[in-house]
């Protein structure tokens, strides 16, 4: 289990991560979502020990990773920008990682390489971006980590390899009872994989909940009336993204859905439609306040 407690990181005057606390359980795939610059990569780099937090604590299975860096031998970080030595191959990189990760498994390495169809003797610099990502994933999983950190790791993968990678990760998680943290912009992908999602907004955690809970707790209503209706008839509902188009009205609700349904029913709509929110819609809903007013932008 990874436990992040009150972690803050500043770059000069800029606060990249502001007092974040989250827990990632064992056998859990945890998705980190947020705008560019929200602090996702910074958070992952702090977990990996690349950056040192200004304050707060990061623990793996109850062990403080900065007080006991050797614990990071059970953690593997797959960064967005991959690094391979100028003349290195998967084989030489495996040799390198084997020196530093005591659980590195040659058998797993060879099996995975074969599964992805990667030539372990070929120079990695000659690999495509997607192949390099696959290679890094193979190397990472071969270390048999207790936790694996993936920063935009599905970028550049073709759909087949993407599915394969996802499946592998889920299998590995289930098998080894490990924690997986994925940072991604691809919300559909996260929705497919993650059992838990954290949304970082303004360098803080805006949402941190299980995907199932998220789906049940938020919905979108589309209503039709016989005549134009006043917004005030929805008083008592905490709605967002309110849109009225003549006799048609739509909005999203994230709290007290049952109470909202009663108020809606009382307004006598001719049609009530209720939809679960997709992750992308939740993301956009949360970011609503930061949206630009494009009409004013060029006026």
């Amino acid at each position: 289990m990874i436990k992040i407690s009150n972690v803050t990181k500043t770059f000069d005057d800029y606060t990249a991560v502001d007092n974040i606390s989250i827990e990632i359980g064992n056998s859990s795939v945890y998705g980190l979502v947020g705008y560019n610059g929200a602090g996702k990569t910074t958070l992952l780099k702090m977990i990996a020990g690349v950056y040192t937090p200004d304050s707060g604590k990061i623990e793996l299975d109850g062990v403080d990773l900065f007080a006991h860096p050797e614990k990071k031998q059970e953690l593997f970080y797959v960064p967005d920008d991959l690094y391979f030595g100028a003349a290195s191959s998967m084989k030489s990189m495996a040799k390198f990682y084997k020196s530093y990760y005591p659980n590195f498994c040659d058998e797993t390495f060879h099996k995975l390489a074969e599964l992805f169809g990667l030539d372990i003797k070929k120079k990695l610099m000659g690999f495509s971006k997607g192949m390099q990502r696959q290679a890094e994933m193979v190397l990472g999983l071969s270390t048999l980590p207790r936790a694996i950190l993936l920063d935009e790791s599905f970028d550049g993968l073709d759909p087949a390899k993407r599915n394969l990678t996802k499946k592998l990760l889920l299998d590995y998680m289930a098998e080894k009872n490990c924690s997986v943290i994925i940072s991604s912009h691809n919300l559909h992908e996260l929705a497919d994989m993650c059992d838990h999602i954290a949304l970082i907004d303004g360098q803080r955690i805006a949402i941190d909940c299980a995907v199932d809970d998220m789906n049940g707790s938020r919905c979108k209503f589309r209503l039709a009336y016989t005549q134009n209706v006043d917004k005030n008839i929805f008083n008592g509902i905490e709605y967002k993204n309110y849109k009225a188009d003549g006799k048609l009205v739509s909005f999203t609700v994230s709290k007290n859905i049952e109470e909202a349904e009663k108020i809606i029913a009382a307004s006598n709509p001719v049609l009530i439609e209720r939809f679960p929110l997709s992750l992308e819609e939740i993301f956009l809903e949360e970011m609503e306040d930061t949206n630009y007013d494009f009409e004013k932008l060029f006026s």
Partner: protein, 809 residues
């Protein structure tokens, strides 16, 4: 396997990988060392025939340029390159992601890489040393404890130079944001020790009366090489300890803890620098990787260092504070330079420039306070340290080295031609690049010109301490004081407990210098003079003894001869040959008072030599330094020329006649150590010399060739007029005459000549052409003597364009 135990494996893995990454340079180093060892595998005649089969250890390599030579520069360069190789990862975000996310502490990462950079090169040097040692043993050279000591010393020297350069580079590079920043910061900070030495020297000479050091390198103990390994090793090479180590074992002694102190301090400094580098690395914010100007701490240090360099340059060099002109204005100018340079540096290298600018201004008072502490301490005499005079009953002996000892002065130029203008203290100012102590215990750079005289008799010591007390009482003398003169006085007390107290002074009153000159009448100086004139100086004796196994001086004149030289040539003993040549290139020239033409007497014989020696021993300081114009006859000059060249077979040829001159080859006592000219002004007081010259009908050569009719005009000025009151290096109160022929003047004053020289009399407008007046001046002129600020110097310009300078009494 526990995580702890596996972390040891990780350390080993990183160490191994680092060693592998840096392996190429150690391999190259080993091959180079092997090459220099191989040079002696075909042993040249030198090695075969050299007395005692003296072994050298990597001598060819060391002789390539000593410690500051290519070998050492290569080791320094290797240190920098290997540090770059191992720590360049910090500049790459991608690469540092990999390294820092490994399950290793920063401590392990840092030290594994540092060790990985140190061990292969150390092994390579040790392996090279082993090959060299085996070569020496195989060559059947004299292998003894001294050999092994020197072998260990030289080996350790190379190792520690590499290590220091490497850890220093690691410490800086690992804490910067990009390669340019890393290299620039390393270059800037590597100059710090040199500039700091300038700073200390400037404080001593510019602000402390009674400088406790000459070069700032000898604090706190002149024999301890505390300052920098580079200096320490250079020092040993510079004073020829290394080259004399095997040649003159009895003379130079064994390697002592003082010799090793350079290596010991370098080791200590390496450890300290390495630890500082680690502390910074542990706290390093990795986000600075690949960025510019965000290594805040280092930026502050480097900008302060650059400002400090500017301060030292402006205060001590531009404003001349280092030469005794220290004042508040020079400090203020230095502070302005400091601030300006620091700010500019931060504007160029900083990240948030406006903020950096404000921060610099905020830090400025702290820096001023730092400088103030230094200046107050040094101006105040280092809490009484600079004015310390040991109690008389504690003093074993005291040595004074100054330009005021009778037998080391050159009345004329050291040039093969007589020099143009008063060549007084411009010649005698010691240069900064020289070092204070040689292995023989002489003060090295002063010894180049002044021999230190050791006063060990109680009454002589009392006279010296009285002079020293007066120096302290006089305090720092203002530049414009009427009786202020420039000089260099080094006083070294050896106390009964073996410790040393050494002080330097760069200015004094005329009265004090005259008192120093009167020390020439003490028994200590007379004894030293006798020793010097007797050619049995410590150096020479040991030198000859070692070269030719000579113990009896009488044998010297027959051993050091052209014939001997030729024999050595045929024996193929080039080493000994070159040493003999130092001894035989001596001739005596007789010059009249007008100095226009000399007579070449050839090599002096023992009789003349003894006559001169006896006269000089008998003369009082007053007779030598303050003789009257009418007592002055001419000049005896020795070693003026190096006319002798070798023909193809190694025979000596006279440069002018191409024949070896007739006459015996006596050994000149004046020129044992170099080709420098030594001169004696002949006065009527030198009865024995005159008797010899009369006996051999040589007095006629002292008749002037030029007379009043040949003089075009003269000009008059004091030394102060010529060189300024504040130019202490030029107003040492001893005058030396000079003469240049018209032909030489023509060469040296041609506009297109690369020999163009400064002619101070060009600024003197008043020209005297009246023959009566000139004659009157000539009647009162001397070639040599004590010269106060009131004494006038006369430049004589002859009709043929030649010039001479004399002093008017």
């Amino acid at each position: 396997m526990t995580l702890k135990s596996s972390s040891h494996k990780q350390f080993t893995a990183m160490f191994r990988q680092s060693a592998k990454q840096t392996m190429i340079l150690p391999i190259l180093a080993f091959l180079c060392l092997l090459f220099f060892s191989a040079l002696r595998w075909d042993f040249e005649p030198t090695y075969k025939t050299f007395v005692d089969k003296t072994p050298y250890f990597w001598d060819d390599l060391r002789m390539l340029g000593g410690v500051i030579g290519p070998a050492n520069c290569c080791f320094v360069g290797a240190g920098l390159i290997n540090a770059l190789t191992l720590f360049s990862f910090v500049w790459s975000k991608k690469h540092s992601n990999v390294i820092f996310s490994l399950g290793m502490s920063r401590k392990d990462i840092y030290f594994a890489k540092v060790l990985g950079g140190i061990v292969p090169m150390t092994v390579a040097i040790l392996a090279g040393a082993a090959v060299e040692a085996i070569s020496c043993v195989a060559a059947d050279l004299t292998i003894d404890a001294r050999f092994w000591a020197m072998a260990a010393f030289v080996t350790m020297q190379y190792i520690i130079i590499y290590i220091f350069a490497f850890v220093f580079s690691c410490a800086i590079l690992s804490n910067t944001g990009n390669v340019v920043e890393g290299l620039i910061f390393t270059a800037i900070l590597s100059a710090f020790s040199f500039v700091f030495a300038e700073f200390l020297e400037g404080l001593f000479w510019g602000y402390t009366h009674g400088a406790a050091t000459m070069t700032a390198l000898e604090v706190p103990h002149p024999q301890v090489n505390w300052y920098m390994p580079f200096f320490a090793f250079y020092n040993l090479d510079n004073d020829e300890f290394m080259t004399n180590y095997f040649d003159f074992p009895d003379e130079v002694g064994n390697l002592t803890v003082y010799h090793w102190s350079g290596i010991i301090f370098a080791t200590v400094y390496s450890v300290i620098v390495c630890l500082l580098g680690y502390i910074a690395f542990r706290k390093r914010r990795n986000e600075i990787g690949g960025t510019w100007g965000r290594a805040k701490g280092l930026n502050e240090i480097v900008s302060a260092a650059v400002g400090f360099y500017a301060f030292v340059f402006v205060t001590f060099v531009l404003f001349g504070a280092k030469h005794g002109n220290g004042n508040i204005a020079s400090i203020a100018a230095g502070l302005v330079a400091f601030l300006a340079t620091s700010v500019i540096f931060k504007l160029v290298f900083g990240n948030k420039r406006k903020k950096e600018f404000v921060a610099t201004l905020k830090h400025f008072p702290a820096y001023i306070a730092g400088f103030a502490v230094f200046f107050i301490i040094f101006s105040g005499g280092l809490f009484g340290y600079s004015s310390e005079i040991p109690d008389a009953d504690e003093i074993e002996s005291v040595k004074i080295a100054s330009p005021h000892h009778i037998f080391m002065e050159d009345a004329l130029s050291t040039d093969s031609m007589l020099a143009l203008y008063p060549q007084n203290s411009a010649l005698v100012r010691p240069s900064y690049s020289s070092f204070s102590e040689d292995s023989l215990g002489y003060s090295y750079y002063l010894n180049e010109i002044f021999t230190g005289i050791i006063y060990s008799k109680q009454e002589d010591i009392a006279r010296v301490t009285d002079i020293h007390k007066k120096l302290i009482e006089d305090g720092k003398i203002k530049d414009n004081a009427a009786d202020a003169v420039g000089t260099y006085i080094e006083i070294t007390y050896t106390l009964k407990d073996g410790s040393i107290v050494k002080r330097y002074y760069s200015e004094a009153t005329e009265e004090l210098v005259w008192n120093l000159i009167l020390l020439n009448d003490t028994d200590s100086v007379k004894y030293a003079l006798k020793d010097y004139l007797g050619t049995t100086t410590h150096n020479t004796d040991e030198y000859l003894k070692h070269l030719f196994n000579i113990t009896d001086y009488e044998e010297v004149s027959t051993s050091i001869s052209t014939q001997k030289y030729i024999e050595l040539y045929h024996d193929g003993n080039f080493n000994a040959m070159s040493k003999v040549s130092d001894f035989i290139l001596n001739e005596c020239f007789l010059f009249p008072k007008d100095m226009s033409k000399g007579y070449n007497l050839g090599y002096i014989d023992t009789e003349l030599y003894k006559a001169i020696a006896t006269d000089m021993e008998n003369m009082s300081a007053k007779q030598y330094y303050a003789h009257s114009a009418e007592d002055e006859i001419g000049v005896l000059a020795f070693g003026l020329s190096s006319y002798y060249i070798l023909d193809e077979e190694g025979y000596l040829l006279h440069g002018e006649t191409e024949t070896i001159p007739e006459g015996g080859f006596g050994v000149s006592s004046w020129n044992l150590n170099s080709g420098d000219t030594k001169t004696v002004v002949l006065t009527k007081d030198m009865e024995n010399t005159i008797k010899y010259l009369e006996k051999h009908d040589l007095m006629k050569h002292f008749e002037n060739h030029l007379d009043i009719g040949d003089i075009k005009h003269v000009r008059l000025a004091t030394l102060t007029d010529l060189y300024g009151k504040d130019n202490r290096s030029m107003n040492c109160p001893v005058f030396y005459a000079s003469y240049w022929t018209g032909e030489q003047m023509e060469i040296y004053t041609k506009p297109d000549s690369h020999f163009n020289m400064y002619r101070p009399f060009d600024n003197v407008d008043t020209v005297i052409e009246d023959k009566t007046e000139i004659q009157k001046l000539l009647d009162n002129s001397v070639l040599y003597g004590f010269c106060t600020n009131k004494n006038q110097i006369m430049e004589i310009t002859y009709d043929d364009g030649g010039t001479a300078t004399v002093m008017i009494q």
